[in-house]
């Protein structure tokens, strides 16, 4: 009986280890906040970031993606991809990510390019892409992510 219990504990440990491997030793978390502007008695307005559970058209929301290397090894070629929801319009210039080349897609994530290089063909005419055309954002980290290190990617969008 005692042996059996020990075996079960061993099995649990090994399965937890397998799960961790499966998860890939990188934690990635997204959170979303919105800007809330308050005006005090003297008329000074203050913009605060608050948790965004509910939004109304015109609200500006900020998505933050944090990733941490929980493994013992160095992660290479770290790339974060985030779709921009249909009812959101990306705020030009808002994407942020230290050490990352930030590119955008206008074709549902199939191809990516720098914002100023993207074009859209509409009614047979090709024009420069607008932030409203962007469907995805991609952050390609130029540096390795050492064991235990953490990175951040962020962008803002306005609810249509």
């Amino acid at each position: 009986m005692k042996i059996l219990t020990t075996l079960m504990v061993l099995m649990m440990v090994s399965s937890t280890h397998a799960l961790a491997q499966q998860q890939g030793h990188l934690d990635v978390t997204t959170s979303v906040q919105k800007e809330e502007v308050t005006v005090d008695e003297s008329g000074q307005s203050e913009t605060k970031l608050v948790e965004a559970n509910t939004v109304v058209p015109g609200d500006r929301v900020i998505y933050t993606i944090t990733f941490r290397n929980t493994s013992e090894e160095t992660a290479e070629n770290v790339v974060i991809t985030n779709p921009i929801a249909e009812s959101l319009t990306y705020v030009a210039g808002s994407a942020f990510g230290p050490g990352a080349i930030i590119e955008f897609s206008v074709d549902g994530g199939q191809t990516y390019a720098l914002a100023e290089e993207l074009t859209v063909t509409e009614d047979g005419e090709t024009r420069s892409a607008h932030p409203g055309d962007f469907t995805h954002i991609r952050w390609a980290m130029q540096n390795e992510l050492a064991a235990g290190a953490q990175g951040t990617a962020r962008f803002a969008a306005v609810l249509d």
Binding site: V28, P57, G58, E76, E86, S87
Partner: protein, 372 residues
């Protein structure tokens, strides 16, 4: 027999009328249809796929959400990031948690005046001014309507008719017998996002109003969910039970229409000259009668769209091509010029004088008949 009527210009608004179960809304875009129940749309960010599917579901209800006023209340916006990397030479791809935010209802309304300043006479009844109430929020909203004709800043107070508020049910832009009266709390207009309804305020003009005086009448539309400073929240009172938040219009809007008393005084004189076939002036068969009608505005104001309508007397026959306006020939046919011989009923000389003021001076219309 002559009639000369200054016709107040009324507002004709283009617009497409669609009849609903309650009454007729005038819709000003092709999408402003009514959703009884707002379906939930989940926006996962995979542009083009799930939302298109959601729209297809809405299509089954025979309506489309109007996105111009903003993302519909009740929409869920989900976000999941993906991270890919190489660990010890092995490519790995992971997904983050999914965040979900709910689009709540924003209550906003706009009222716009559609009529130009309405020219009225003292004691005129049922003078209608047209307004448009537009739901500029992102959900279905019900609005109550209120008239106020006792505003400050004008010269007289118009007197609201009973009832005083009507829907432009037939979408004509003109107040007429088919238009449905507004009954507060009974047929408050229910508008989808971006939809609008045209509303008349109907007032009588007091007999004491003087020429040149102005009277104001105001339409206020108020969300029945609530009003307040922007950001005021009504928990659970939005479409599908989401919260409702008061937008920048504070859930209430108003517009003011104007009446201008234009009691135009007109002088008009008709004379006749007979020429008989024998060089005399006897009204015998074969004699020609030349009628001369002069019209003049003798007060301030505008006689809008004035028209002279003068039937040919019995036992006489109109002399073809004899109509003159200020000595210029007017053809008999109904064409682009200012008049004609209207033969749709009893032959009648019709001359349109347009908008006349004192500055236009005397207008002279001449035509001839022969005695049978």
């Amino acid at each position: 027999m002559e009639t000369l009527a200054p016709v107040p210009e009324s507002c004709h608004q283009p617009g497409r009328a669609v009849r609903s179960a309650l009454f007729c809304y005038r819709l000003h875009d092709d999408l402003g249809l009514k959703l009884d129940k707002h379906p939930t749309i989940t926006d996962t960010g995979n542009r083009g796929l799930p939302l298109a599917a959601a729209l297809a579901v809405i299509g089954l209800f025979g309506a489309m959400p109007v996105l111009a006023a903003g993302t519909p209340a009740g929409t869920l916006i989900e976000n999941t990031a993906t991270v890919s990397f190489d660990l010890a030479g092995t490519p790995i791809s992971l997904q983050s948690n999914t965040t979900t935010i709910t689009v709540v209802e924003r209550i906003d309304v706009v009222v716009t005046l559609q009529s130009s300043q309405l020219l009225v006479s003292p004691s005129a009844v049922d003078q209608a001014v047209l307004f448009r109430v537009t739901n500029t929020g992102n959900g279905n909203e019900t609005f109550s309507l209120l008239i106020d004709s006792t505003l400050v800043g004008d010269d007289f107070d118009p007197v609201p008719a009973v009832p005083a508020i009507y829907f432009d049910s037939d979408g004509s832009g003109d107040f007429n017998v088919g238009d449905l009266a507004y009954d507060p709390g009974v047929n408050d207009p229910v508008l989808t996002a971006d939809a609008s309804v045209d509303v008349f305020l109907v007032n009588d003009i007091p007999g004491t109003a003087l020429n040149g005086q102005v009277g104001f009448t105001q339409l206020t539309a108020t969300s029945t969910t609530g009003t307040g400073v922007p950001g005021t929240s009504y928990a659970g009172l939005g479409d599908g039970g989401v919260d409702a938040i008061i937008g920048t219009t504070q859930g209430e809007a108003a517009a003011v229409g104007e009446y201008l008393v234009s009691n135009v005084e007109l002088s008009f004189v008709k004379t006749q000259a007979v020429a008989d076939p024998f060089g005399g002036t006897e009204p015998v068969p074969g004699a020609t009668i030349t009628y001369t009608v002069t019209v003049e505005v003798t007060s301030a104001g505008i006689a809008s769209a004035s028209a002279l309508s003068d039937p040919i007397p019995v036992y006489t026959t109109y002399v073809p091509d004899s109509i003159r306006l200020n000595a210029a020939a007017i053809s008999d046919g109904a064409d682009a010029d200012a008049g004609e011989l209207d033969t749709s009923g009893a032959p009648t000389v019709v001359v349109r004088l347009g908008d006349l003021t004192q500055a236009d001076g005397i207008q002279t219309v001449v035509f001839q008949v022969t005695i049978d």
